[in-house]
Amino acid sequence: MNALSLRNLTKTYRNGFTALRGIDLDIQQGDFFALLGPNGAGKSTAIGIISSLVNKTSGSVHVFGHDIDTHSAKVKSCIGLVPQEMNFNQFETVQNIVLNQAGYYGIPRHLAIASTEKCLKQMFLWDQRDMVSRRLSGGMKRRVMIARALVHSPQLLILDEPTAGVDIEIRRSLWEMMAQVNQQGTTIILTTHYLEEAESLCRNIAIINNGLIVEQSGMSELLAQVNKDYFVLDLAQPISALPKIEGYELELIGSKTLSALVNKEQSLNGLFQQLSMHHIDVLSLKNKTNRLEQLFMGLVSE
């Protein structure tokens, strides 16, 4: 069963700007799916349409088989949304924000109270439950929105940049939480600009650029396409010009730092031999490859 299926989805905003130019997408139930793309690609627009915040111009949306045009209430009950921008009442307490959202979803009060407590604890916000949300830190505000999105135990959780502005410790725990929620059967769609995050969490991926999907595949299949490694070398002595070395793409980043792009089949020994011949001493070596980032840059700059 598909958790989400989009067919030829388009969106032209009132000002005439076309943000989506015909998107087809299928996301399997249980998937952890990355929706990536540069700023302005149309990710939030697509998410807005799926979660009923934005009216589509044409095309179809099905969530767990329910058509958004004819069964919008069913579609809405399936989805939990963490939007990119803050959208809660700044004058309300953390607990009431989550509790009220449960009410909007039609959850009876006693169940809502229990679920709110569970979600706030999961988001490390239980101690802040009586705080007026305006007083929270940026990362806490984001966690309020995640707790709010989980309160009705959605089957499909959509996270639009949930880890932006969240500190490292909390980010790690958010990753754990997302993986855990996914393991319990919830389908997750994640957008993020931290590609390592998508790489380590997601099983399938779509890259969207200028309102079109430019790549869609399994994460491991996609990463297998990458055949170059990127290294950064720290040198003992500064050099003023790059030596000419056959077969390796070198670049001088600083006077004592070199970068090298090495094909998977090439050996590193060859590189070092040649560097020694030019009397260049290498002190240390770092693998800076972010495979997804490389692919991503290739796809969106085409």
Binding site: Y13, R14, G48, S51, S52, L53, V54, N55, S72, A73, K74, K76, S77, I79, L81, P83, E85, M86, N87, F88, N89, Q90, N96, N100, Q101, G103, Y104, Y105, G106, I107, P108, R109, R148
Partner: protein, 254 residues
């Protein structure tokens, strides 16, 4: 069932909101109307003769009460719903499986609650200055509730179209308040020149104030049936209009 829970959540949220900030929402009307009763009713009114056989004080009480119902019902919905748009937590409602009519009903009931609560407090205040022996309970209560409903709806429509905080104060200041004052709170339209009488008949608030005055003290310039027809008709029209706006997502969806 789902819709009922959502409705109850919205109404409780709305009522808690205006009670929490009562110095801004409940107090001002009480202070202003107490001043009206004191200055117009008590100090100046004593020098006036009766209108339609009742003292000037008694004559203005129904209009002053209804004026506070009108402005509070309107203000509650326009401010609360606009703030919801402004802070974008309208999105909390849009993503949830709530029917549009439930959203509307929730906000309107919030407005009715504040309008009626302030109305009751103002009525209690008026009892410090005069006695009221209700002439017709049925008319009084129906018009009271219908008026609160109508202006809650009007506030809702205003909030839907509003794009700035200016937009939510323009209509109350430049349309609602003048129409209320010209709706015969402080005078009978029979005291006006013919032309102004005719013009006054185009003011919907005139009908409500007269019907309410009839209910409370048995005096009116307008036929009660017509007043009900006007108030009911406007309420129905604004209900349908609001639902159409919500359905199309005007002012709340891109």
């Amino acid at each position: 069932m789902n819709n009922f829970i959502a409705f109850r959540t919205l109404v409780i949220e709305e009522i808690r909101r205006f009670i929490r900030i009562w110095p801004q929402t409940l107090l001002p009307s009480v202070v202003t109307t107490a001043l009206y009763f004191m200055i117009f009713g008590h100090l100046i009114g004593e020098r006036f003769g009766d209108i339609d056989g009742v003292s000037y004080m008694d004559y203005i009480v129904p209009g002053v009460i209804l004026m506070s119902v009108i402005s509070n019902a309107y203000a509650n919905v326009v401010a609360s719903f606009y703030l919801r748009k402004f802070q974008r937590n309208i999105e909390e409602l849009l993503v949830a499986p709530i029917a549009n009519w439930v959203i509307l009903l929730g906000y309107v009931c919030g407005g009715i609650a504040r309008g009626m609560l302030v109305g009751i407090i103002v009525t209690a205040t008026s009892l410090l200055f005069t006695d009221i022996n209700v002439h017709h309970w049925g008319v009084t209560l129906t018009i009271y509730i219908l008026t609160a409903t109508l202006f809650s709806l009007a506030g809702f429509v205003n909030a839907i179209f509003a794009n700035s905080f200016d937009d939510i104060s323009t209509i109350p200041n430049f349309v609602l308040t003048p129409l209320t004052y010209l709706g015969g709170i402080f005078y009978s339209i029979t005291m006006l020149p013919e032309l102004w009488q005719q013009l006054s008949l185009a003011n919907p608030i005139l009908y409500m104030i007269n019907a309410f005055r009839y209910g409370l003290i048995g005096v009116t310039d307008i036929k009660i049936e017509i007043a009900f027809l006007m108030t009911g008709g406007f309420t129905l029209f604004l209900t349908i209009f609001s639902l159409v706006l919500l359905h199309k997502g005007i002012g709340i969806k891109d």
